[in-house]
């Protein structure tokens, strides 16, 4: 992740000092991480054999773990890399759901159905 040149705090907080390119790259990192982990979650849920609602709960648990991981990656200082905390915590939360369902179904069928 590319850090902003200046730390935005106190009286500086109303002036945006983020580099647009770095911010875009950071958001792309978040999207790629969430997509990758939703696929991993789908494969894991299928292999373990989760059924019904438990699978979707597993998906949201993995997304929460992803949020914690991204926060740790940002050093728990989201204001250095993003313009708001919501970017790290909730952006793209539901974006990987279709990939999750696909890989969940695929892995579940390979392991438990055939």
């Amino acid at each position: 992740m590319g850090s902003s040149e200046k730390r935005s705090k106190d009286i500086m907080s109303d002036i945006p000092t983020f580099s647009a390119e770095n911010l875009q790259n950071n958001l792309k990192v978040i999207q790629n991480s969430r997509t990758f982990l939703s696929i991993i979650a789908g494969v894991l849920a299928g292999i373990i054999g989760f059924n019904g609602l438990i699978g979707f709960v597993f998906y949201f648990v993995v997304m929460l773990i992803t949020s914690v991981g991204l926060m740790a990656k940002a050093g728990f200082s989201a204001d250095l890399y993003f313009d708001s905390w919501n970017r790290v915590l909730f952006d793209g939360f539901l974006g990987g759901l279709m990939s999750f369902v696909l890989f969940w179904t695929f892995a579940y069928d390979l392991v438990h159905i055939f």
Binding site: D10, I11, M12, I15, P16, A20, K28, Q31, N32, T35, F36, S38, I39, A45, G46, F50, N51, G52, L53, G55, F56, G95, G96, M98, S99, V101, L102, F103, W104, T105, F106, Y108, D109, L110, I113, F114
Partner: protein, 246 residues
Amino acid sequence: MAEDLVLDTAIRDWVLIPLSVVMVLIGILRYFVSKLMRSTPTPDAKMVKEGQVVIRARNLKVGANFIPPKSFRARRFYFSNEENGLLHVPKGEAQNPQAAMFSDPNMAMDMMKKNLSMIIPQTLTFAWVNFFFSGFVAAKIPFPLTQRFRSMLQNGIDLSTVDVSYVSSRSWYFLNLFGLRGLFSLILGDENAIDDTQRMMQMGGFGFDASKSLGAEKDGLDIIQHEWALPRFEQRAESVLRKLVK
């Protein structure tokens, strides 16, 4: 009472896995074909100039608070002056985007290429799935669904006693169609290797109205509340030093 079906392992080997592999490969193939078919447009000097002017105006807007008020007013005047500013478009010179679209055959060609690269693979793949895999119960969805999903998920299977969570190969095709988008964004990356100028030109390729864009930037510049940040830097430095002295 719906029964649990026992699906043959041959269905896994000859229906489910080939269908999934083909979906992935077709996505990759379509990406590379569209990449090869992309024609580099000859840049129009006027459009490139206007795109650069818009980018410069945006940069001024973003960094407005880091320059003194006098400098900012001079730059804004340079861009927004009503007589000869960079963002000013004389009345008669505003080009008609539709006329430009009709007069340039390259635009129609590019549009047709994009549409074809989207429609042809899906049509061919759907026909292939129908020809080779029609009538198979291909997979079981691991969560319960109501009867209303039957017509959608068991398209091609005409048995009313089969549980709704069993899906046909046609539905598996559609599930792949939607679910593989995330995988493609991971393995193929994004096509944003284009720089700002080319992105502006791509916007210009489809009805980009220069007078509207320049006018919008001009209005945006006019309404900026400039507040010089540098004196507050001094205050912040003073407070930091006082904190250190304590």
